[in-house]
C-alpha cells in the first residue's frame, strides 16, 4: 500500500520538478505529463513480477518507477544528458532496459503492442511463465499497427495484458470524435478478448484488475484488456494550454484526483496518518532536489557520439560477421591525397 502511494507521489513530484526545469529552460524539446493518470500506470504495473516485460506510453512514467527505474533517469532523459538511458539520442520514455523488463516505445503510436507480442510469443514458445504488459491511449488504439497487434495477440493467444487508457483526449481532439463507440471496452470485445473496465483513478481497483489479467495470462489464459477510465488533466504537452477543455470538466475530474483519493483510503483504513503522508511527500521531494542538482551539473553527450551505435561495433562484438566494409555504406571522406586538400584545406570531411 505504502509503495503504491510512494510511487504515485514520486510520479507527480518528479513532473512538478520537470515543469519548473522546463520553464527555466533546462529541458530539451517538449515535456509530456501524466497529471491525473498516476494511478493507472502505478496500479497496473504493480501486478507484474521480475522477468515480466512492460512497454509504457509516454504517460506511464509511474510504471517505470515501479519496475525499478531510478527517478534520476527521467531527469537525465528530459535534460538530454550523456548519462541518460538513451545517451541523448532519444527522449521521454523511449528507452529499453532489459534488466528492468522495459521496452521503450517509439513515437508512431500503436507500434509497441506489435513488438511486445513478439516477446510474449517467445515466452510462450519457451514455456516460460512470463507476461507482457503495455499501455495505449484510446487514440493510439485507432492506428493500423495497434489493430494488427490486437488481432495477433488474440489469434496467437499470447500472454499479454493491454491497458487502454481512456483519458478523454487525444492531443486536441476529444476521443469520442475518434471512434463511434462510447464504451471503449467494445474495442476489446471486437477482438474476442476478455476485458474489464475500471476506474483508472482508483489505484487499488486498477491493481486488482491487472492482477487478475496478469495471473490469467501467466497461467496460459491468453491476452486480456483493461480499460482505465481516467482524465488527462493537462494539455497534450507543456506547449498546449488546453484551451479546448471546459473548466467545469477539469474541475469535476480534479475532485477524483487519484493521489488525494488514495490518501483518504490510507488514512481511513489506518495505513498512514495525515502526517505520515506528509512525511513521504517530503522525503520524495528531498530525494528529487538532490537528483535535480546532480543532473544539472552533468554534461551533455559529446557531439561525435552521434555517430556511434547505428550498428553493432565489430570491435566490441566479435560475432559481427563483416568487418571490412564501412557499415554506413561508403568510406568516410579521406581527402588528404586529393588535389583540393593539397591546397591546404580540410574540406569539411562530412
Amino acid at each position: 500500500m505504502l509503495a503504491l502511494y510512494r510511487h504515485m507521489v514520486l510520479t507527480r513530484a518528479l513532473e512538478d520538478r520537470l515543469e519548473s526545469l522546463f520553464k527555466q529552460g533546462h529541458l530539451v524539446g517538449g515535456l509530456y505529463r501524466c497529471l491525473g493518470q498516476e494511478a493507472t500506470a502505478v496500479g497496473s504495473s504493480y501486478a507484474l513480477e521480475d522477468g515480466d516485460w512492460l512497454a509504457p506510453s509516454i504517460r506511464d512514467v509511474g510504471a517505470l518507477y515501479v519496475r525499478g527505474l531510478p527517478p534520476i533517469a527521467m531527469l537525465r532523459q528530459y535534460a538530454a544528458r550523456e548519462a541518460s538511458p538513451c545517451g541523448g539520442k532519444d527522449n521521454t520514455t523511449h528507452f529499453t532496459i532489459p534488466e528492468l523488463g522495459l521496452l521503450g516505445p517509439i513515437s508512431p503510436l500503436g507500434t509497441q503492442l506489435c513488438v511486445l507480442n513478439g516477446m510474449a510469443l517467445t515466452f510462450k514458445q519457451r514455456g516460460e511463465p512470463r507476461v507482457c504488459m503495455t499501455y495505449q491511449g484510446e487514440g493510439a488504439s485507432r492506428t493500423g499497427a495497434s489493430h494488427e497487434g490486437f488481432v495477433m495477440a488474440a489469434a496467437l493467444d499470447l500472454p499479454i495484458v493491454i491497458l487502454l487508457e481512456h483519458n478523454r483526449w487525444s492531443f486536441g481532439t476529444r476521443s469520442d470524435r475518434a471512434a463511434a463507440v462510447e464504451d471503449w471496452s467494445h474495442t476489446a470485445e471486437a477482438y474476442g478478448l476478455p476485458v474489464r473496465s475500471v476506474d483508472g483513478n482508483d489505484v487499488l481497483e486498477v491493481y486488482e484488475a491487472a492482477r487478475e489479467a496478469v495471473d490469467r495470462a501467466r497461467t496460459g489464459g491468453g491476452p486480456g484488456v483493461i480499460v482505465a477510465e481516467t482524465y488527462r488533466m493537462l494539455g497534450h504537452a507543456q506547449h498546449d494550454p488546453q484551451k479546448y477543455v471546459a473548466p467545469e470538466e477539469l474541475e469535476e475530474w480534479r475532485t477524483r484526483d487519484p493521489i488525494r483519493r488514495f490518501e483518504r483510503v490510507l488514512v481511513d483504513e489506518g495505513w498512514l496518518s495525515e502526517s505520515g503522508c506528509e512525511e513521504i511527500r517530503t522525503s520524495v521531494d528531498a530525494e528529487l532536489a538532490e537528483a535535480v542538482d546532480q543532473v544539472l551539473a552533468e554534461p551533455h553527450p559529446e557531439p561525435q557520439t552521434a555517430r556511434t551505435r547505428v550498428f553493432a561495433d565489430p570491435e566490441e562484438d566479435p560475432e559481427v560477421p563483416w568487418t571490412r566494409v564501412s557499415p554506413i555504406g561508403y568510406a568516410d571522406l579521406n581527402l588528404t591525397e586529393s588535389r583540393g586538400s593539397q591546397a591546404g584545406l580540410h574540406g569539411g570531411g562530412r
Partner: protein, 339 residues
C-alpha cells in the same frame, strides 16, 4: 516551436507573411476558390492543427471540409485517394511527416500506381512538417523524401521561402497526381516575406529557382538548407571574393535537371547540400545525372554535404553535429574552389 507570433506588418497591399501563414493562405484561398478542396487529418479541426496551420478553418469551412480523423494515417491517405477518384481535391495532413510511415502502403502501392495501372489518377496532396533543428528526436525530425524517391508516380516538393510555400502548395492542390509536400518546421515562423494579400501565387512543379546567382561554384539544395547554403555563399563572397550560385530546387521530383546542368556548365563545380542522410539521398541521384550530362564541364569532383548516416538524435550537442552546418558548407565550398 514556442516563439511568439510575429506582429503583422502590412504595406501597400503587401503583408509580411511567414512560411506557415503562406501554407495556411494557400489552402484557404484554394478552399474558397474550389469547393472540392478539403482537409483531413489529426487535430486539424477543433484544435486547428498541431502547429496551428488550420486555425479558424473549422469555423470558416465547417466539419465537412475540415475533418478531424482518428489517428490512422493509412486510412487518412486511403480516404484521400478515394475522394480524389470521385473528383475531390483532398489535402491530407500528417501531423509530423515522420508519421507518413504507417501510410506508406497507401502511397507507394495505391496512390503512386493508380494512374499507370488504371488510367485514373489520385490527385491528392499529402503535407506535413519535416526536418530537424527543433530538438524533437528521431521521430519528429526526419526528412523522408528519399523513402519515396524510387517510387515512380509521386511528385515531391520542399519549399524554402514563403512565396514558394504558397505557390507550390497551390500548384500541388491543382495537380492531378499525388504530391508529397514537405514543409520544414524550422522555417515555419523564422522565414517571412512581403506577399500580396489575397493574391494567388502558383509556382509550377518541377521548376528550380536561382536563389543567389554566382559564377565560381554551384550549390544545389532545397528546403531549410537553402538558407544555410546562402549564408555560406555570402561568407565565401565576403572573405574570399568568390561567387557561389545557389540553386533552390523547390521541387525534388520532378527534378529540374536542366537548370542544374546549365549552371554547372557555367561554374564547373558542384556541391549538393541536403538535410537528409547521405546514403541513398537525392544528392546521389543529382550527382549521377550531372555526370551523365556535364562531366566534361566539371573542374572538380562533385561533393555532398548532408546529415550523417544515423537517426536524428535528440540532444542539442548531437543534433547540431548530425545536421549539416554553415561551416561544413563553407569548408566543402572552399575545398572545391581551391581544387
Amino acid at each position: 516551436m514556442s516563439e511568439d507570433p510575429p506582429a503583422t506588418i502590412t504595406y501597400d497591399g503587401l503583408r509580411e507573411t511567414t512560411y506557415l501563414e503562406a501554407i495556411r493562405d494557400a489552402m484557404r484561398e484554394e478552399m474558397l476558390r474550389d469547393d472540392t478542396v478539403f482537409i483531413l487529418g489529426e487535430d486539424v479541426g477543433a484544435y486547428g492543427g498541431a502547429f496551428k496551420i488550420t486555425e479558424g478553418f473549422l469555423a470558416e469551412f465547417g466539419p465537412e471540409r475540415v475533418i478531424d480523423t482518428p489517428i490512422s494515417e493509412a486510412a487518412i491517405v486511403g480516404a484521400a485517394i478515394g475522394a480524389a477518384h470521385m473528383g475531390m481535391r483532398p489535402i491530407a495532413e500528417m501531423q509530423f511527416i515522420d508519421f507518413i510511415a504507417p501510410a506508406f502502403d497507401m502511397i507507394v502501392n495505391f496512390a503512386a500506381k493508380s494512374r499507370y495501372r488504371t488510367g485514373i489518377g489520385a490527385g491528392i496532396v499529402i503535407r506535413g512538417p519535416c526536418g530537424g533543428g527543433s530538438r524533437s528526436g528521431p521521430f519528429h525530425s526526419q526528412n523522408v523524401e528519399s523513402f519515396f524517391a524510387n517510387v515512380p508516380g509521386l511528385k515531391m516538393v520542399a519549399p524554402a521561402t514563403a512565396s514558394d510555400a504558397k505557390g507550390l502548395l497551390t500548384a500541388a492542390i491543382r495537380d492531378p497526381d499525388p504530391v508529397l509536400y514537405f514543409e520544414h518546421k524550422f522555417l515555419y515562423r523564422r522565414v517571412k516575406e512581403m506577399l500580396p494579400v489575397g493574391e494567388e501565387i502558383v509556382v509550377p512543379l518541377g521548376a528550380a529557382r536561382t536563389h543567389r546567382p554566382g559564377t565560381d561554384l554551384t550549390i544545389v539544395t532545397y528546403g531549410a538548407m537553402v538558407w544555410k547554403s546562402a549564408e555560406a555563399a555570402d561568407l565565401v563572397s565576403l572573405e574570399d571574393g568568390r561567387e557561389i550560385e545557389v540553386i533552390d530546387l523547390r521541387s525534388i521530383r520532378p527534378l529540374d535537371i536542366d537548370t542544374i546542368v546549365e549552371s554547372v556548365r557555367r561554374t564547373g563545380r558542384l556541391l549538393i547540400v541536403h538535410e537528409a542522410p547521405k546514403f541513398g539521398g537525392f544528392a546521389g541521384e543529382i550527382t549521377a545525372q550531372v555526370c551523365e550530362q556535364a562531366f566534361e564541364w566539371l573542374d572538380a569532383p562533385i561533393r555532398r554535404v548532408t546529415a550523417i548516416d544515423t537517426p536524428v538524435p535528440y540532444a542539442p550537442t548531437l543534433e547540431d553535429y548530425y545536421l549539416p552546418q554553415t561551416e561544413d558548407i563553407v569548408a566543402a565550398a572552399r575545398w572545391l574552389l581551391a581544387y
